[in-house]
Symmetry: C2
Subunit: 204 residues, 2 copies
């Protein structure tokens, strides 16, 4: 059993798998260290080439800490399926996860504007072209950080439950997690038609 488990749950150095995870997941957990204890905050993540862009208020403590160049770690995880095995011990989950470690740089000037556009377009591809540019006040109120995709570890578990090496009549298999964007809900004060960016998300 352990042999099969180790084959199925493994690290990968395939950068395409890392990129695919960022294509799927909008949220990660950013961690730092404060007074010898871990400090964690959920964060929107958007890959921009060989870096991950994150943003928040200039008042956000962990972002300011990260902007100062302190060591951080970012964990992004996608749950794909429950692995229901013949025993509790062999039961598991299919998942994909990445941990990126390093130090952030604060984006400034044109690169900061670019980072904000990357974030807006990550939420709904093409949205940047549908809304007005960021104002100076908005840019000033936002901290935009980039974490390089240099020191990263990708792991996944795929495949069905491990095959029992004992007699059992217990069911074994996967229960896949299905996810998708539902019907958009227009705000009561908005009378605009559904824009291409949102139509793209829902495939129509």
């Amino acid at each position: 059993m352990d042999r099969i488990r180790r084959l199925a749950e493994r690290a990968s150095t395939d950068r395409a798998k890392l990129d695919a995870l960022f294509d799927d997941q909008l949220v990660g957990t950013l961690a730092g260290v404060h007074e010898d204890a871990p400090w964690v905050v959920p964060m929107m993540v958007a890959r921009d080439g060989d870096r991950v862009v994150m943003h928040g208020s200039t008042g956000a403590g962990l972002l300011r800490h990260a902007a100062s160049g302190a060591p951080v770690a970012l964990c992004v995880t996608a749950l794909d399926a429950l692995v229901v095995a013949h025993s509790g011990f062999d039961s598991s989950m299919n998942y994909r996860s990445a941990v990126i470690r390093g130090r952030c740089t604060e984006l400034r000037g044109a690169d900061k504007q670019h980072g904000l556009d990357v974030i807006t377009d990550r939420l709904a591809p093409g949205r940047t072209a549908e809304v007005r540019p960021h104002t100076g006040r908005e840019v000033a109120a936002t901290l935009v950080l980039a974490l390089p995709l240099t020191d990263w570890l990708y792991k996944e578990r795929t495949g069905t439950a491990s095959e029992p090496d004992e007699e059992t009549d217990a069911w074994s298999g996967l229960v896949p997690l299905q996810q998708g964007w539902g019907e958009p809900e227009r705000a009561p004060f908005s009378d605009a038609a559904l824009p291409p960016s949102v139509r793209g998300l829902i495939g129509r």
Copy 2:
């Protein structure tokens, strides 16, 4: 705009909201500190009353670190909707998140067995009654930790996009994330009928 944003994105001390988040989310990010840098690992989480139970191999570094009583933080986040606003700055996400800080205790004896059952039943409610008990070897190979729900912070954003205080013809609204368990996929070596625990997950 900022006023509305702050009203919509807020912390809550409502324990029922924390419990509901754990009812929804199976995976969190556990963080510790190693050589002054953050150390993060995705982790299955299962609430057991006033504590969160986590488990892994006795060889798992961060779990061993946590078992030693080192300070840890656990972040659990649910993404509920994209908030598509009239500007990039006002766009956001509806989410629920919790950060639990503290120190873990390692479960032993009957409490460890109980913890493992909680985990098995968290994957598929009722599964413990459908599979054989954990063997001594399996219990010995597993580290089971509990983190008390004492020092926790819950935050959420709910509601639609913030109302523009400027002229705009940009669409505003929500795009909800829909999630659910899909059709179970029986392992090729299994010929058992779909058990009640899995039928419960998919509502039939």
